[in-house]
Symmetry: C2
């Protein structure tokens, strides 16, 4: 006698992860590598982007700008003649402090994905919640400005763990601060041992060649969906 | 003929506001003025506190340190022999990016309120959500470091509107940055016209006398509950 075998499926994915996977599949189909760029307010994400989007020869770049309110950052990027969409978390979502997969879902149709190789998603400036929400990106990069102090990896460990690369920005100010770079790196390795890191200055351009190489290499190696 | 008049009460307060009012009543009963100190990560709240708590003669100060994780800031303040409680939003609350009234409620019994005149509540470093949650405080002060750029009032308007005083910190770095102070002040007045502001440096001590006077004046004028 045979008993019908009943399939049991566990609902292990939450809604955000489900939508992130759908975003990721759309990006993969279009051959676009997406980078989720995160930092505290004022760490220099947009200044880095201004230097980056025009310094990637042969890579077609688009930008998704996440902000609570306003289009200031999108305006700065659009001035460089790059496809850009501003995604505000204020009116439709209640002033969220981070992007989530569903917000990005609503913004993707406004970008010409078929004409892009790389999409940089600039998250809302915040060191807590953005690290908790995947949006469909392939890579996560965080910017930590040395003006914020050496203790930030210890105080916001999830953010420093949730990224493949840490850009240590405003390095041009090192001589004017009491910032102890070795101490910062020690804290960084304590929460995310060996994570790739680069010393950069969006102001002077120091270190940006390595960052642009990193991006260019990865945006030509998009993987097909499994 | 008389009809019984039925009282209709609207449930206009959310739970957070209700608990904030209870916290406030406890603080008032104990004669303690509470200041909710908010900023982005690394703006210098703790460094300001280190300079402040020992510079208020005759004012008995306590500190409530809000952080996602760790006791680094509480350790720094405790070294100054001031009553301090560390309130972590990570284990019990799921890694919240802000303090709310209920978290502060759970921390209040650990502080010797009857022996304090002033309680400084250092919020989690974040320019979005802390502005949305009253915790029972009398005054809200935010710290904006000039290293964060001139555009922050426009990008995080609720935070800049939700405070009685803006401390513009790291002013000692002005000559080393491209920061345009007039432009920052213009943006500040655009979102919160005329809000009180002070230029300070937690590093050099510049401007801290005015800040300490501001605190000392207010902590001797606690009002009884209505």
């Amino acid at each position: 006698m045979h008993r019908t075998k009943i399939k049991v499926v566990e609902g292990v994915l939450d809604a955000n992860d489900t939508i992130a996977a759908v975003n990721r599949a759309d990006l993969d189909r279009a051959g676009v590598v997406a980078v989720n760029l995160m930092s505290a307010p004022g760490a220099g994400k947009t200044s880095l982007l201004e230097r980056t989007v025009t310094a990637l020869p042969g890579v077609r770049v688009g930008v998704l700008e996440g902000d609570v309110q306003g289009t200031a950052d999108a305006d700065r990027v659009a001035a460089l003649h790059v496809p850009v969409t501003q995604l505000n978390t204020d009116p439709g979502f209640g002033g969220e402090c981070h992007l989530d997969a569903n917000m990005v879902r609503s913004a993707l149709p406004s970008l010409p994905l078929e004409q892009l190789d790389l999409l940089i998603i600039e998250n809302v400036g915040n060191l807590v919640c953005p690290a908790e929400f995947r949006v469909g990106e392939h890579l996560r990069v965080m910017v930590s400005a040395i003006t914020e102090g050496e203790d930030k990896p210890l105080k916001y460990p999830l953010m420093f763990r949730a990224c493949e690369l840490v850009l240590i920005n405003k390095i041009d100010l090192l001589e004017h601060l009491d910032f102890d770079l070795d101490r910062f790196l020690y804290h960084l390795d304590a929460v995310h041992p060996g994570v790739e890191r680069m010393l950069v200055s969006a102001r002077t351009g120091e270190g940006l060649d390595a960052w642009c190489d990193w991006l260019a290499t990865r945006s030509s190696h998009v993987e097909a969906p499994a």
